[in-house]
Symmetry: C2
Subunit: 324 residues, 2 copies
């Protein structure tokens, strides 16, 4: 590969001069600059990021970390991040495992956005620092260098459950996501708070602990169908599980919403065509805002306040109304 030395040799100048040209410094003669630039093009010189990072400790690059490939709206988040970063002179680098620590504090990236639920809180607490701000999605952490960006789950879930109560549903089942995630906790809390307030009984047996994947919603519905009495409505912690549940129910001949209603959360692509009542999360905007906060913080703006985005209930045909 062509290095700065090759260019220097070819142009008959020193490496520092080449470096100065590459970084648009003013202290270099017009004729020299042109000769160097020409050579760079000719020899296809691309500065070595490793060398550069090692020396400068910065990169004009942000890191995004995720890992759940079933959630297709992740691409929307990435698009939002990519757009903001691109428009503001930053590159985006993405990694899918916790090996993203490899890219965190070595000048390869200047900050990161974390979505992967498997990334541990204490790792993040340790990693965040003045020279390396972090934005965390869907999780609340208290740290002076971590900005948390969460969607308000509680209010729309409250509205959703209130709405179904208003439509006459009384026998509820809840298909939950990963137990320890804030998302799941908040969605369930909203659910149970409405039921409590409305004095609708809910026994723990009607809670199924899933993992956000379609398969676990499918399994949940199967299990509920083996009990003597089917709930009137399945409230699911996300769309994937709701769709899994709908498939299982339909396979057994139940009609939705005539025999049983289902709700989701996320408003994934399928939700619309499936007619699934759900909560719509502004994903592109989330990504865009995450990138914007991060890059502002990299530049020294100190904006680490918790930020909540509001999601919105989308009523569709998977919830009908039930004569009391």
């Amino acid at each position: 590969m062509t290095t700065i030395k090759d260019i220097a040799a070819a142009a008959g100048v020193s490496v520092s001069t080449v470096s100065n040209v590459m970084n648009n410094k003013s202290n270099v003669g017009e004729e020299t600059r042109r000769r160097v630039l020409d050579l760079c093009r000719e020899l296809h010189y691309i500065p070595n990021s490793a060398g550069k990072s090692l020396k400068t400790g910065e990169s004009k690059t942000i890191l995004f970390n995720f890992s759940d490939f079933d959630r297709s709206f992740y691409l929307k988040i990435i698009e939002g991040i990519n757009d903001y970063a691109g428009d503001n002179g930053y590159d985006l680098m993405i990694c899918t495992t916790k090996s993203c620590e490899k890219y965190m504090h070595n000048g390869l990236t200047d900050g990161c956005i974390i979505l992967d639920g498997r990334m541990e809180n204490k790792t993040l607490q340790r990693a965040a620092m003045e020279q390396y701000p972090i934005v965390v999605l869907d999780r609340i952490l208290s740290n002076p260098y971590i900005k948390c960006l969460v969607v308000n789950n509680y209010d729309p879930m409250t509205e959703l459950v209130e709405g179904t109560v208003g439509r006459g549903y009384r026998k509820f089942a809840f298909i939950g996501g990963l137990e320890h995630t804030d998302d799941n906790k908040e969605r369930f809390r909203a659910f149970i708070d409405v039921l409590t307030r409305r004095r609708i009984p809910f026994c723990r047996e009607n809670y199924f602990s899933g993992n956000y994947r379609e398969r676990s919603g499918y399994q949940a519905a199967k299990i509920f169908m083996s009990a003597p009495e089917l709930p009137e409505i399945f409230v699911c912690a996300n769309d994937n599980m709701a769709i899994g549940a709908m498939n299982a129910l339909r396979e057994r001949g139940y009609r939705i919403p005539d025999d049983v209603a289902v709700t989701g959360f996320d408003n994934c692509e399928l939700a619309k065509t499936e007619g699934l009542t759900t909560v719509s999360v502004p994903n592109y905007e989330r990504g865009y805002l995450a990138a914007s906060s991060l890059i502002e913080n990299i530049k020294g703006r100190e904006n680490f306040e918790l930020m909540k985005l509001t999601a919105v209930v989308e009523w569709r045909r998977s919830t009908g109304s039930r004569s009391l």
Copy 2:
């Protein structure tokens, strides 16, 4: 951040000893090794990838490049890549722009998989070398260090169009994707070959040149609807455009397939629920195979033959049959 020097100082040994410990060399005493390892954990030492790459020129990491966020099956490809890489001791790094050149030849990654259609052929021709093999998806290039992995578009498209002819359709429109892509060319060629063979007339006015996005399919259908006579069937170069077209048609009150039929290509998530007849591409497998070929080649296996995956027609209700 903790560096190798910090560990060396804390352990009272030299940096080379710490390095030897980190790389599992045998030339280090058991007691020393343990002390160093303990310190690493305690001080949360993570080796600096930039320094490492600079020195060794390798990284056990592969790079994936893509950029179209509308194609949600890309996540499936990523999942396939991620799985193979992970199982074989490689990390995955993803980037979304052609700035991925920054990560190509500097020891940060050992090879890459290219999906982004905007990445130019000549860039790839130049970038591929013995020490940096490349896998390219959906494109055919002739280069000793580039492995091309394409899906056979021609055969399934032939089967699809033959099938619709068999079902009685005669007046065809074609909604194409980006003109210069091999995918689009091949899909169209299969289409036109069948029509020619069957002596079914097709005039160039029934070709719409789109860009693979839903919006362009929508626009295409709008335009066709403004002509005096509607085609009997829209053959689209991908699902997104097919879905856009279906939306436009339904908005005007046309029923599918009673009034007009539509076919797609990709078998995206929506295709199933929309009942869209399409071609199913094995995306997870593509990613998995791409990663597998790449990593084998990084290890020195020389496997650069063109590889074709076969896709399969999925007949659904968006194509009915037409009484002749």
